[in-house]
Subunit: 412 residues, 2 copies
């Protein structure tokens, strides 16, 4: 058969995704499978079973990253790597990350059943703790592998119950022996749902990001004075929640004010003592600012800091703003991005060039080797929620673009 | 000895309050003693011991309200009743409610050791679940006793863990046999800390409220659309927390807008899914509006409802506003209020006429019999917090006003 007419099996991809979605499946149709939970362990067990069914050589590294190798004709050449993650948000969706892992699995199954030999070894990967909702920061597995984060520091990350990453990794039986360390890689592809509304809105099946927005994460602490709601006149109050409310609205207006490609979100808020008849004495909230322009992001931070201080002074509520995480915008390899576009073109799609608003393991891997991503539409732009959905034909289309991108890179 | 020169023992009152404060005492110097908890049980046990030491006839009713009777010369006359509550807010203070119960105890000890006989029986009371933070609504014990709330309905109130009021009352051994039912009462006095900053600000020791502000409690539910923070452009968002933030600021401005005696507080907020990188999809918050003017409160509700609907429409976030509790302003018995003022005057104080911003059991009891209250200053106006404090000499002064108010009413 002509290599150019090779296609994945869309029905098999669907069945595989559906079977994986049952592990940690929620009544609302989503998946709740936090990193290093029992559900994560079961998902990994099933994943390993599937890798072994197609005779891949399996390696688990010290961070629990799982690699499956399909040897090429020339195994000394740096391999082509592709994957994503099997962990999910709390009550998250069935596609985020998972499609990227199951998509490569489908590609490898297709190569296997068609006895396609590649020059280079092709490797599938499941990165540990991409979501970062149980253990912060996100992308811990790929971060250590890429040499950006320290392994022992990662082991000491704790969840909300105080459980350590390293101990939980051991508990679920996925603390491997192989060093979590970058090796030579020829190219990395990550296939993912868009998680935004753009592709659906413009009626495109395939999106090809040129990179990922930079992200800054802040924790903001506002101090007020807790007091009984009834007998405390309005004019003597220092209401931490009112101060926070003004700050939240300022943060929401920030992108319009700064212009340029930027989003800004307050996703999390904790109010103390959080009692109906007590004036809030303390509020902690988070701020997530993203932009394709690193300098603009820096200027935005200074602007919002000034705004917060002004509100703080006006309301007599001291404020503290701490940066907890920052990642510069990621620029993918232009040559590899172009090649993915060509593969999509040859399959009859008119791919949409774009920027990824969400962070991905690809951001870390791009520091190691040429990297590109493939996006398919999210229905209603919804993600990180149980109703997250993508049409099966779009999943299949994306997997075919992945197949031919891998074949082009691996050579055959 | 002349009855007019009778005084309480301030040192003993202090010691008693300090001993009671150890039950559920917090490292921050406050008290955490939620209604029907083990701490509440221990406080009640100690209270009973103290009542029996001065030979009071003790009665526990079906709601766990504890009464101690000191019989008068004419026990057929309706008694004089006084008390407050021993339960506290979560990490609350040592004085709120407790001073009112320990104050009457000190009055009764003083009568006992001076062998003062009164015409009428004098009764002390500890009302169950005044705070309402474990079981809503507040003032459950006095509410059922006053015939405003139904006993079996009260028994079915559940806490956040689903435990029933009735079962918890039984568990701690304070479900009595006597019906929780109002009887004839000649007068009710409640001695309490102000919980506001006014008395301290004007340098007065004694405040005498003419009544209690009316209270409306609302739950507000805002629906947005949860979505991934990165890839969702600002202009397509329906951010429930931003809508709530605008509403919180509107609620904060309400008293200034309506004029008149009013306070308005958002004390509690719950944000879902409350994750750093997810646009908030749902927010629930509370609103507490209080005023001395019932009609003004009604008009304020209509105004704020219109504001909320406007914000809801602008941001595409449907809103629902539910009234969960409403109590009309309480007007105390003017004659009894005047008599408390006279008692304070005779003791050399210049009492400050005022209005109570906080709800009290006195609001319910005033529906049964002539009722008045006595306030002493809160340092810094702070209450419902661990640092809640009142000077010991002010506690003693208030107890002396209570002593002479009771003596005047009970006759001797």
């Amino acid at each position: 058969m002509e290599i150019s007419s090779l296609r994945v099996n869309g029905q098999r991809l669907k069945t595989t995704l559906e079977e994986m979605a049952r592990i940690g499946g929620t009544p609302g149709g989503g998946v709740h499978r936090l990193a290093l939970s029992d559900e994560d362990r079961h998902a990994r067990d099933l994943f390993l079973k599937w890798l072994r069914e197609i005779n891949l050589e399996v390696v688990v590294d010290e961070m629990g990253n799982i690699f499956g190798k399909r040897l090429g004709k020339n195994p000394n050449l740096p391999p082509v790597l592709s994957g994503s993650h099997l962990d999910t948000q709390p009550k998250g969706g069935r596609f985020d990350g998972i499609l990227g892992v199951m998509g490569v699995l489908e590609v490898l199954r297709t190569l296997q059943e068609n006895r396609v030999e590649t020059e280079r070894t092709v490797m599938i990967v499941n990165w540990t703790n991409e979501e970062g909702t149980r253990f912060t920061p996100a992308m811990l597995g790929s971060g250590v592998w890429a040499g950006v984060l320290d392994r022992d520091w990662a082991y000491c990350r704790t969840d909300i119950l105080g459980k350590k990453f390293g101990e939980e990794l051991e508990r679920i039986g996925y603390k491997g022996k192989q060093p979590a360390k970058r090796g030579p890689v020829h190219a990395y592809f990550e296939f993912h749902i868009e998680q935004g509304p753009i592709l659906e809105k413009i009626g495109k099946t395939i999106g090809i990001p040129k990179g990922i927005l930079g992200i800054s994460w802040y924790d903001i602490f506002v101090e007020g004075k807790a007091n009984q709601a009834g007998p405390t006149p309005m004019e003597v109050r220092n209401d931490a929640l009112c101060a926070a409310a003004e700050m939240i609205l300022k943060a929401n207006e920030l992108p319009a004010r700064m212009g340029g490609n930027m989003v800004s979100t307050v996703g999390e808020i904790h109010n103390f003592p959080n009692s109906r008849n007590i004036i809030p004495g303390q509020v902690r909230f988070t701020l997530d600012v993203r932009s394709w322009d690193h300098d603009l992001m820096g200027r935005a931070t200074e602007e919002i800091r000034k705004d917060f201080l002004g509100i703080s002074e006006k309301r007599g509520c001291p404020v503290r703003m701490e940066e907890v995480w920052r990642i510069r915008p990621t620029v993918f390899d232009p040559d590899l991005v172009r090649k993915v576009g060509e593969a999509a073109n040859q399959l009859g799609y008119f791919p949409h060039p774009m920027v990824s608003g969400a962070g991905h393991d690809a951001a870390l891997v791009s520091q190691v080797c040429p990297t590109a991503m493939i996006f398919v539409p999210s229905i209603g732009g919804r993600s990180h929620v149980e109703v997250e959905d993508t049409r099966w034909e779009d999943c299949e289309a994306g997997a075919n673009v992945l197949l031919h991108s891998i074949l082009q890179s691996a050579g055959c």
